[in-house]
């Protein structure tokens, strides 16, 4: 018994020393295990699927994000990310007030579309005062006006095998060896068809400013800001995003952000 106790005492001492060692040497001990592709990292990422399924189960397809009143709009919408695209093509479009801009809808659709601004303005619109939540932690309330994405998808007739909507943007967010990387991102068809998911062209009662994504940006009100690309010019329906960017579904996702941004 005494022997066992001694061993146990040694074990306890060693265990507590080991635990405090983690705390004292800082938190770089896990760094190499947390890079994209590392087994531990991939295991931890499963929690995002759990979150997606749990929140879908609770929220269903149509539960609406909170909407606010005019009195809650206390400041201009905070611009974030790229706020002045330096791309020649974009600047050319902007110089002509986006008259030559088109929204292409392609991929797994029966009827690929090429819509002008006027065609999008002519669609039934939705206006909503919602809170924009950035992944960094800040929030900002603003009034958005746009055409429901569901109407555009219906017009293009989505094929049954399509699962995701990929947004291709005009702004260069990054440069790599293979050239400029334009912002891209994706949502699934549940969020794409959500009643508050709109292709916004109006902000706080005025045309959408360049810094907030003119001529068109998407609002996905049950997710965080990085899931709502600005400067959209192409919508592609796909069955998987393995061929899009790094294969994780979006620009930030390829840098390690979770694909599902509902939390």
């Amino acid at each position: 018994m005494a022997k066992i106790m001694l061993n146990r005492r040694k074990f306890l001492t060693a265990a507590s020393l080991g635990a405090s060692g983690i705390a004292l040497t800082g938190c770089d001990v896990f760094d190499s295990q947390l890079r994209i592709g590392a087994p531990l990292r991939s295991f931890l990422e499963n929690a995002n699927d759990l979150t997606l399924h749990a929140q879908r189960l609770l929220a269903g397809r149509d539960a609406l994000a909170q909407e606010f009143t005019e009195a809650d709009i206390r400041q201009p919408m905070r611009p974030n990310g790229v706020t002045a695209p330096d791309d020649e093509f974009y600047k050319g479009l902007m110089a002509k007030d986006f008259a030559d801009w088109r929204l292409e809808v392609s991929g797994l659709v029966e009827k690929p579309l090429s819509l002008t601004r006027e065609q999008i303005f002519a669609m039934p619109s939705r206006t909503q005062i919602t809170r924009h939540d950035c992944v960094e932690g800040w929030s900002c309330i603003a009034k958005w006006t746009g055409a429901p994405l569901a109407l555009v998808l219906d017009q293009a007739v989505v094929k049954p095998e399509a699962r995701y909507v990929v947004f291709h943007c005009l702004d260069t967010i990054d440069r790599s060896l293979s050239g400029e990387i334009k912002y891209y991102g994706s949502i699934d068809l549940v969020d794409a068809r959500h009643p508050q998911t709109i292709l916004a062209y109006g902000l706080n009662g005025k045309p959408l400013p360049v810094e907030n994504g003119a001529p068109l940006r998407v609002r996905v009100e049950r997710q965080l800001g990085y899931k709502m690309p600005k400067y959209i010019h192409k919508i592609e329906l796909v069955s998987s995003f393995s061929s899009i960017g790094g294969g994780r579904g979006g620009y930030w996702e390829d840098y390690g952000y979770d694909w599902y941004g509902g939390i």
């Binding site: 146990r8 005492r9 306890l12 265990a15 507590s16 800082g26 938190c27 770089d28 896990f30 760094d31 947390l34 990292r41 931890l44 990422e45 499963n46 929690a47 995002n48 759990l50 979150t51 929140q55 609770l58 929220a59 539960a63 609406l64 994000a65 909170q66 606010f68 809650d72 206390r74 400041q75 201009p76 905070r78 809170r131 939540d133 950035c134 992944v135 960094e136 932690g137 800040w138 929030s139 900002c140 309330i141 009100e221 049950r222 997710q223 965080l224 930030w252 840098y255 390690g256 952000y257 979770d258 509902g262 939390i263």
Partner: protein
């Protein structure tokens, strides 16, 4: 102080005066305790990583950019002696260079709210911080739920945690005993222990989970009353941070109490379940409830 020494000696050094070993912590308690300990450690380190992305706390529905609703901000400013880190609480600014705002190994200091030894990963990486945070948030929540059901069913809550009328009577004396670091080693938790554990398990952790869920835009669509209850998403974020500070405070008190009450015996009971009690005698409290 001498009382503490004496009780430690009795517990650990004088075999003749040892009280009986009792089975104090069930396997459920021990398992859940360690799952929470690990989860809370990583939730803290990843939470501070996430905070570093926006080292500022606000009160209200949103973050004021053209008006001021900030109550805490950590940052760095240039000064004649080089960059300085600062922490600003309710408009009062404190120089916290080296820890908050501006820190790093000599020559490699940089602007970051919490220093790299308090975040995981050690470098700035919001996306990975979130991956870790939500994994352990799930682990903590599931463990808490299982524990709640189990401790209601097996009587742990009623028997060991819920303070009763006799506990309230003993409160003044228990308080005085703690101040004098005079600890009684019995199977039952003392009154302050009951309050501390019940406070963490029934108030702080649920509050942490609820304010966390309030920050989720998707959960807002399911439970729109939550942001209203907490006074807006940004206030919920501030409460989430404040409760973190309370949990850290609990941790330090918890460690201090374990060291003061005899770390070997306390650690043994939360690892093996067995706890050396004080020898039976006229002064032993709770003698009527010997197990």
């Amino acid at each position: 102080m001498s009382a503490t020494l004496r009780s430690t000696e009795i517990t650990e050094m004088e075999p003749l005066e040892k009280g009986p070993l009792v089975y104090r912590q069930s396997a459920w308690t021990r398992l859940t305790h360690w799952l929470w300990a690990i989860s809370l450690l990583f939730l803290l380190l990843s939470g501070l990583q996430i905070f570093n992305a926006r080292p500022q706390l606000y009160i209200g529905l949103e973050s004021g950019f053209t008006y001021d609703n900030t109550i805490l901000r950590i940052g760095a400013v240039d000064s004649p002696e080089g960059p300085r880190g600062f922490t600003e609480i309710f408009g009062k600014r404190f120089d916290t260079t080296g820890i908050f705002g501006w820190s790093g190994p000599p020559g490699q200091e940089r602007q970051r709210a919490f220093p790299s030894w308090l975040t995981v990963p050690s470098y700035y990486d919001l996306g990975t911080g979130r991956v870790i945070h939500f994994f352990f948030a799930w682990l903590l929540s599931i463990t808490l739920l299982v524990w709640l059901v189990a401790s209601l069913l097996n009587g742990h809550f009623r028997r060991d945690l819920a303070p009763g009328a006799s506990d309230l009577r003993k409160l003044p004396r228990d308080f005085a005993d703690h101040l004098r670091l005079r600890f009684h080693h019995t199977r039952d938790y003392n009154v302050l222990q009951k309050f501390a554990y019940a406070g963490v398990l029934f108030i702080l952790l649920p509050l942490m989970i609820l304010t966390g869920l309030t920050m989720s835009p998707s959960m807002n669509s399911v439970l729109p009353f939550l942001p209203d209850l907490f006074g807006g998403r940004q206030t919920a974020r501030t409460i989430h941070f404040a409760v973190m500070l309370l949990l850290v405070a609990f941790f330090f008190v918890h460690m201090a109490m374990i060291l003061a009450a005899g770390p070997f015996n306390e650690l043994r009971s939360i690892i093996t379940g067995w706890y050396r009690t004080d020898p039976p005698g006229p002064t032993a409290p709770n003698a009527e409830r010997g197990s």
